[in-house]
Symmetry: C2
Subunit: 536 residues, 2 copies
Amino acid sequence: MMEYPLLLRSILDRANELFPQKEVVSRDYTGIHRYTYADYYRRVCRLANVLRELGVKKGDRVASLAWNNHRHLELYLAVPCYGAVLHTLNLRLFSEQLAYVINHAEDSVIFVDEDLLPLLDGIKEKLGGVRHFVVMTDRRELPATSLSPVHAYEELIASASDNFDFSRDLDEYTPAAMCYTTATTGDPKGVIYTHRGLYLHSMCLGMADSLALSEEDTLLPIVPMFHVNAWGTPFACTWFGSKQVLPGSRPDIKVICDLIVEEKVSLAAGVPTVWMGLLALHRKARYDFSSVRGFVCGGSAAPKSLIQAFDKEVGAPILHAYGMTETTPLVFASKPKSYMKDWPEDKIYDQIAKQGLLVPGLEMKVVDEEGRDVAWDGKQMGELLLRGPWIAKEYYKDPERSMSAFAGGWLHTSDIVTVDEEGFVNIADRSKDLIKSGGEWISSVDLENIIMSHPDVQEAAVIAIPDEKWMERPAACVVLQEDRRGQVEYEDITNFLQGKVAKWWLPDKIIVVDEIPKTSVGKFDKKMLRQRYAGG
Amino acid sequence: MMEYPLLLRSILDRANELFPQKEVVSRDYTGIHRYTYADYYRRVCRLANVLRELGVKKGDRVASLAWNNHRHLELYLAVPCYGAVLHTLNLRLFSEQLAYVINHAEDSVIFVDEDLLPLLDGIKEKLGGVRHFVVMTDRRELPATSLSPVHAYEELIASASDNFDFSRDLDEYTPAAMCYTTATTGDPKGVIYTHRGLYLHSMCLGMADSLALSEEDTLLPIVPMFHVNAWGTPFACTWFGSKQVLPGSRPDIKVICDLIVEEKVSLAAGVPTVWMGLLALHRKARYDFSSVRGFVCGGSAAPKSLIQAFDKEVGAPILHAYGMTETTPLVFASKPKSYMKDWPEDKIYDQIAKQGLLVPGLEMKVVDEEGRDVAWDGKQMGELLLRGPWIAKEYYKDPERSMSAFAGGWLHTSDIVTVDEEGFVNIADRSKDLIKSGGEWISSVDLENIIMSHPDVQEAAVIAIPDEKWMERPAACVVLQEDRRGQVEYEDITNFLQGKVAKWWLPDKIIVVDEIPKTSVGKFDKKMLRQRYAGG
């Protein structure tokens, strides 16, 4: 076979040659922007010429601080196909963290959305290494900013040439993109995605047993393009010629629902909290979601009650998946095996509420604290270890933390899981969130999922609180449904849990809160909850 | 990302770990044989131990001369995962060619099906390099043979250990399999498939926009396992945990139809002549094909009339695909783009009667005789050139023929094609089968497809006959429907063609024949027809 490198250029070329008429729809500052992959390709060529004019060299890091929109999508392929590395900045980071990751990655140019300019204005003294700022707006004129030197994206694009000869002379292990993941302690950690890794991961997203993404799909990523590349969907969609619907700046759940209906979205991707919000709105507003074949749910575990509610009330299934920044991200997809379709309904839901089966191409191990394989019985917990062509091999310029997380050539995920007889993996907890009571582990995720199936409960997060006798005991922070606030007692919750979990799993405290704090990527922020309620 | 090699071992491990209960069904000499992937895995381990006992070294060629059955499937993964190269011998080769390819590949061991022993017995004097023969039968005892040293497969398997530690220490470019393709002139040409190429090709077979092969499928390969690895389906099915139904020795079309019905096959794969046979039988016997989601058709172009008949009479679509031995084989898959579904029915059929769109991962060029790109207008013909990670880079130990076929780093396919505005490729002809009349090209394939849509015609093959004035003119060799024999005239056919093709395309001769000769892989043998009817 030819030694033909696996490069993102294949993705760009195919969209242009085979799907020039298919659309990219982007919610812009001034309305809905539409163009075709033929238009997209021309602008990607122009953007590559702009990169050259800005003095970007192969291997340089070029950063984006942007929402899900068409300009961000242009950066997605222009930067790596040019030979540079797209560093997608998380716009929800604290300003010191933002400055840290820009400097740690040594970003040479930053492309920033108009309404995110203040984030950079506030830290400009710390960004001495950045050679150019480019503001992405719908207009050609620049908004007010103290950044310098600063350019207007549309102005640069307008004056650049339509033609660019993307090189095939790149090694497939060339870095294409990178993003940082916040750490429990210490600075954020950088992960590099190679052309090869993103290419193979995109193929995997197209496989019938993972997401089956295809030309027929219209995809709406609610997961941000700065969060593990919106789970890799922009690359895969462009490759397959799928229609993309990008929801733009600060989309609320109503904007999302309207876009799904108007653009006939077939697949939307987001974290469980987004889908809880969609369900709550749908219960009031009754949308027509008949174009949707699935709501891809990742980032945290989807509670069984949510999965059931989507089937019954929304009319399209939750497609449950699992991954992390270090894994590009797809690792598990929860789709019942063919023979499971004959199972009783409730047993099927129990099964797909798990994170699912390892996708083709990856390798896993689940080990106990002594590094021994645990039994696949659905009960024994162990840490999930992963290897494969789209798993990171290290943290960027961070040998110390890399050494422990990638010991022995495996990614040690810190996720504590069980594996059942069918090979379905269930995340019991992040290792730091596990509750160790009297020497035994309690899964906070399992408790949360059951509590969230209580009709009066909107959201629940379970944390460990210190206990003299048992070392740790579970406490549940609970957000009640609006119309039930002030009317729910400790026993209402614990009685509901009786018979569903072991007695010693029952939370010692139910803490009613107005809101569960979320991390920068929309997960429950248990660190914050522990600070508030567990004195830690 | 990790430098994790793309190896077939990933396929073997996943089947064993995630789908131990799924079935492989094999039509054996003594009936239907069934076992699970767990059983399969144990026998593959045993077989690897057998290879070691037979003295097979890494890189050695191990040949199979076998039908589509479970033992052949065991060889498919045991040999490459062991580190050797599986050479699948075409059992329809002439005996001199068979001896040639065995010696050219330097096969060290040959595994042979019981009923194919005579093929080797007849050439045994020429096989001095072969160190062992292993006979695959349902029994432990050996049938009569003059080969030596000779072993019984089941005897070797029974006495081998269940455990084998397959190495991960293989480069992904390590050869895994090989097969020979017959040439228009000269000896057959060898093609090597690497682990990397087969791995990526298997992923591609699972993609929604190619065959969408998945765990839910039950696949019946009628295409032989010696013909481009049954189009790669055994590797992909094993990886995804699909049920496999292997039709065994000399299956006739009735056996095939019965297996489809009894085993609830969802996808069957074969050449157009097989599907013509199935259609003819179905018209008499009325099978229940409700389990089938598609009949994958490759090897030659599927006539539009056949595609229509399957939709209307059989009730499941022909999935039209294109590939060749040098391409592992999948290159094009013909699936209408989403917006084509609103087209008039006849236009959709015109579209999917083409070979289709380039699958993700490959790169193509279509060039005229001066090497210039032809326009994508559906009219201009040019030679198809291909590059990509599952395209061969050379013919095995054949630098001379490799130099022309792989000039400039592209595979020159010798297929003359058009590309339409949608990017759909249509094979007009093999370059050697094109008819050049008065300096203009006539596509024999187009003529055949239209003639085969005539209700009185069962099969048609068009060849060039010499002509003093025009250099070449088309002649059609036609097999009539049984009940119409002796009742069809030259004008019946040419009148039917009027208005459907340019006047100067009308064949000068209609030659009624009892049967169109077929090549060793079931394609029309036009070389033979030219010898008989064109004096060439």
